[in-house]
């Protein structure tokens, strides 16, 4: 390995580093210029920019587990809801294999929060009994049937949410004869049910196989419903639209169109076939959201095609609202709020400022200590830390654009902690080079052989750090994950910097007389390193104090660990330095 080859190799690695940095800048620059959403400022997590974070935990019956698929579906549904409410930049993620975290920047209004919190379970149950709730004093009007002759089958419903009219089609059913399928307890509960008072506990789970006594969302009517026949997940789509006549002309009547999945189509066909011939109210169908009836349309036909239409006293808004409930309410599981946190923006920015201040102080202390220990070599440390800082910043900017990474306070803490851990690999390296110098090598040779040993130590110790980061990232949740992410990222950057910057810089500096002659402030001061004999520039004799056997053993070990090519290269270097004497 001739000297020029070393220099060439060093220059090459530095060039690669430059290319890497320019590429990162170019990626972000391009992303910014083309309005693709990139920015040189990394996105901040809620704890730094302020906002509301809601953690939702699934409510499941004992013994059952939530699958990842269900959770992902729930995330997609909540995301749709939040997006539909016009909130931008909301983050909805799964946390571990259980929870869903919704992070909304700024101060979301109560409606948005309600939309998220009311993540509900949608079910279709047959109506067994229904009556007006005892305390409700609402004039009941009969529903105006609007049999639309569209190609799809038609359900007729009496939406309660319209401002114009509220209707309960079978409000006359005041008597409560024994109904098959209704057990005594349910019947008793139903008889005494008062819809104006709270009767369900938060997060209550109903057994889908048992009848359910409940009220509609407006509290006007109460119902006894049969077991669940069709679930929200069986709905493929729901939308609001005006009813078209058989000739295709649009009418002014609003309706909600339902589209079932293949499995849902079958179930729905079976159940409508069974219910349709029955007498009122048992030809009615209740759609419940979190146990409350949102609508209870009367069947107009047996629906086998998988497309149904609900008509009634809808206007544009009420039909859209019901369609949204049906579509987005089709959560596979229901959730309860496990924690809700409002973080003020001022507190966040104070924390960020203080975190950065702490980072600055930490960096300064590390630099001061390096100067104290390594003199001029500390410049390499500072340079390496600056390069590491630039790389980290750019990578975080890229990741926050491409991967939606948001820098949190624990992430900032991770970055600051990383300053010390990154500087550690430089120390391992420098101390190794000093060890080699003490064994009597010239600086050039000491840098090369010190590097070969140091890089092994750095690789395995960084490997351990990376392992910790990966395991924590894969197995933990929330903030622990954010922290593990920065830890892993900085470990990789540490590796890149030490290979592409620190080592090449040291190789180049070893050529500079100030360092290679072991000047007093170079950090490789011959005297300070205990080398008693100075045998001219670039070459030392083994210091007296080193037991010869040990030195020989150390180099033997080093030789053993070298590959054949490395050994050859070293022999060449040795013969070269021999001849240069």
């Amino acid at each position: 390995m001739s000297e020029s080859a070393v220099t060439k190799g060093a220059r090459k690695r530095l060039t690669w580093l430059g290319v890497l940095i320019i590429a990162l800048v170019a990626i972000i620059g391009l992303g910014t210029a083309t309005n693709a959403g990139a920015s040189f400022a990394p996105k901040l997590a809620l704890d730094l920019q302020g906002g509301t974070q809601i953690i939702l935990a699934p409510v499941v019956q004992a013994g059952t587990k939530v699958t990842q698929e269900q959770l992902n579906q729930a995330v997609a549904i909540i995301r749709q809801r939040v997006d539909a409410s016009g909130v931008s930049e909301a983050q909805i993620n799964t946390q571990g294999n259980n929870n869903i975290v919704v992070s909304i920047p700024g101060n979301p209004d109560e409606n948005t929060l309600k939309l998220i919190r009311s993540s509900a379970k949608l079910e279709f149950r047959p109506v067994l009994e229904t009556s007006q709730s005892t305390s409700a004093s609402v004039s009941t009007s009969t529903a105006t049937p609007t049999p639309a002759a569209s190609s799809g089958a038609t359900l007729n419903s009496t939406p309660k949410a319209t401002a114009t009219a509220t209707a309960t089609p079978s409000a006359s059913a005041t008597a409560t004869p024994a109904v098959p399928g209704v057990d005594a307890a349910t019947q008793k509960f139903y008889d005494s049910l008062d819809c104006s008072k709270p009767f369900r506990s938060a997060g209550q789970i109903d057994d889908p196989k048992l009848p359910l006594a409940t009220c509609d969302t407006s509290g006007y009517s109460k119902f006894v419903l049969g077991p669940v026949e069709v679930e929200g997940t069986d709905i493929a789509d729901a939308n609001a639209g005006t009813v078209t006549t058989s000739t295709g002309a649009s009418t002014n009547t609003w309706a909600v169109n339902l589209n079932f999945t293949p499995a849902g189509t079958q179930k729905f066909a079976d159940v409508t076939g069974r219910l349709f011939p029955k007498a009122a109210p048992q030809n009615q169908f209740a759609i419940t959201l979190d146990g409350y009836v949102i609508t209870a349309p009367t069947l107009q036909a047996v629906i086998t095609g998988g497309n149904a239409q609900i008509t009634g006293n809808f206007d544009k808004n009420s039909s859209k609202s019901l369609a949204d409930q049906l579509k987005y309410g089709a959560l596979p599981i229901s959730f309860e709020v496990q924690s809700q946190e409002n973080i003020s923006a001022t507190l966040g920015s104070e924390q960020l400022a203080m975190g950065l201040l702490a980072g600055g102080i930490g960096l300064l202390l590390v630099i001061i200590y390096s100067f104290f220990q390594y003199r001029a070599l500390a410049l390499v440390t500072v340079g390496s830390l600056v390069v590491a800082g630039i790389l980290t910043y750019l990578l975080i900017a890229v990741l926050s654009w491409r991967q939606g990474y948001h820098l949190s306070l624990s992430g900032v803490a991770g970055l600051i902690v990383a300053i010390g851990i990154t500087a550690d690999s430089f120390i391992v390296y420098f101390e190794r080079v000093r060890d080699e110098l003490r064994d009597g090598r010239s600086l050039g040779a000491a840098v090369e052989s010190g590097w070969k040993r140091a890089i092994r130590t750095i690789l395995v110790s960084d490997g351990v750090s990376l392992l910790a980061a990966v395991v924590l990232y894969a197995l933990t949740v929330g903030n622990v994950r954010g922290f593990a992410f920065t830890l892993g990222l900085t470990t990789l950057i540490d590796l890149a910097v030490v290979i592409l910057f620190t080592h090449p810089m040291l190789e180049l500096l070893a050529k500079v007389p100030f360092f290679s002659s072991g000047a007093k402030w170079s950090g490789f001061d011959a005297k300070a390193l205990g080398l008693v004999t100075y045998a001219g520039r670039g070459s030392f004799r083994v210091a007296e104090t080193v037991p010869a056997g040990k030195a020989a053993k150390a180099s033997k070990e080093a030789n053993k660990r070298q590959t054949l090519a490395e050994r050859k290269a070293n022999e060449n270097t040795a013969s070269k330095s021999e001849s240069s004497k």
Binding site: V460, S461, T476
Partner: protein, 323 residues
């Protein structure tokens, strides 16, 4: 140059040497006492002081207050919830943190408004949150899982790299020592255990082993083919390795601890209770204990594990006969 670098040279050549391996009985005793204390003291103190994330409850933070009087907050909370027992802490120079048992949405909004009025700040300056009791437990349960998986994987990685299971065992033993003592300091002094503290605690994992690996790498180098040596014993070579890497260990630990200390300082003095303080406190204790345990536990234990292997014992007898 500095005295410190003289020390480095003397340690490297063996002119000066600290007996880490030979006096291991002392180090073992210290470690045993520390571990027992780390387990006993928290129990005597009545268990860990868990944060609101573990107990569940409502929390309010009032920013930009002119007076940090805690009674004001207590009165404000009492005006909404008469028989509650709010916990008020000052945070930084101009913030107040109030923790109560979990309140309903309505009550919590009322407390927020009451606090804003009491401290004469805008209601937007009062942040409110509620945390279910499961949350912290969820996070920690996952973290403990991660911890166990990590220890197993790291042990395998080290066993492969060093080509001996004994180094892995010694390193893991030292790591467990670090974790137990750090947790013990938390329990004994009653520091609040928050998810952020758990994060700091987990970071010790990576750091403690990093430190151990650096020293073990040198031990491996020094003890290479030591069984053929007629001058030095296995024990002596391990001790030399610890001494030779001592300056490095001290330097890396100081450099690692400096940024952590600065976060801790800023976190504790200016920001008060919060993520930064909690992460850095656990890490601060962990790095110091980790450095100590590498020198005084991991390396002596490793020597202990191996020096009685027949080949090393035979070599040692030869060396002693030569002396």
């Amino acid at each position: 140059m500095s005295k410190f670098s003289d020390l480095g040279n003397d340690l490297y050549t063996g002119a000066r040497s600290f007996d880490f391996v030979g006096r291991r009985k002392i180090w073992y005793s210290i470690a045993a006492v520390m571990v027992v204390l780390a387990i006993l003291l928290p129990i005597l103190r009545g268990g860990y002081n868990f944060g609101i994330e573990f107990k569940g409850g409502s929390e309010f933070r009032v920013a930009g207050v002119s007076s940090q009087s805690q009674q004001v907050a207590v009165d404000a909370v009492h005006s909404v919830v008469p028989n509650s027992d709010p916990l008020v802490t000052t945070v930084g120079s101009d913030s107040i943190r109030v923790q109560t048992a979990q309140l309903t949405d309505l009550k919590s909004e009322a407390v927020r408004v009451a606090l804003a009025a009491a401290y004469k700040v805008k209601s937007s300056a009062v942040a409110s949150s509620f945390i279910g009791a499961n949350w912290g437990a969820d996070v920690t349960g996952k973290a403990v899982n991660g911890l166990i998986v990590f220890i197993v994987l790291a042990a395998v990685l080290m066993a492969l790299y060093f080509r001996t299971l004994k180094m892995s065992l010694a390193a893991v033993l030292a790591l467990v020592h670090d974790l137990v003592i750090t947790a013990g300091v938390y329990g004994a002094l009653g520091f609040e255990v928050t998810p952020a503290a758990v994060i700091g605690f987990l970071t010790i994992l990576g750091y403690s082993l990093y430190d151990t690996v650096v020293v073990f790498d040198k031990i491996r180098e020094n003890t290479f083919e030591v069984e053929f040596s007629e001058k030095v014993t296995f024990k002596q070579q391990v001790n030399l390795a610890i001494n030779q890497t001592l300056v490095r260990s001290i330097n890396t630990s100081i450099v690692a601890v400096l940024p952590v200390a600065s976060i801790l300082f800023i976190g504790a003095t200016i920001l008060g209770a919060g993520t930064l303080r909690d992460i850095s406190l656990a890490l601060f204790i962990g790095i110091i204990v980790g450095t100590y345990s590498t020198l005084f536990i991991a390396a002596p234990v490793y020597s202990h594990f191996r020096e009685n292997e027949p080949k090393y014992r035979k070599a040692e007898q030869k060396v002693l006969a030569n002396a």
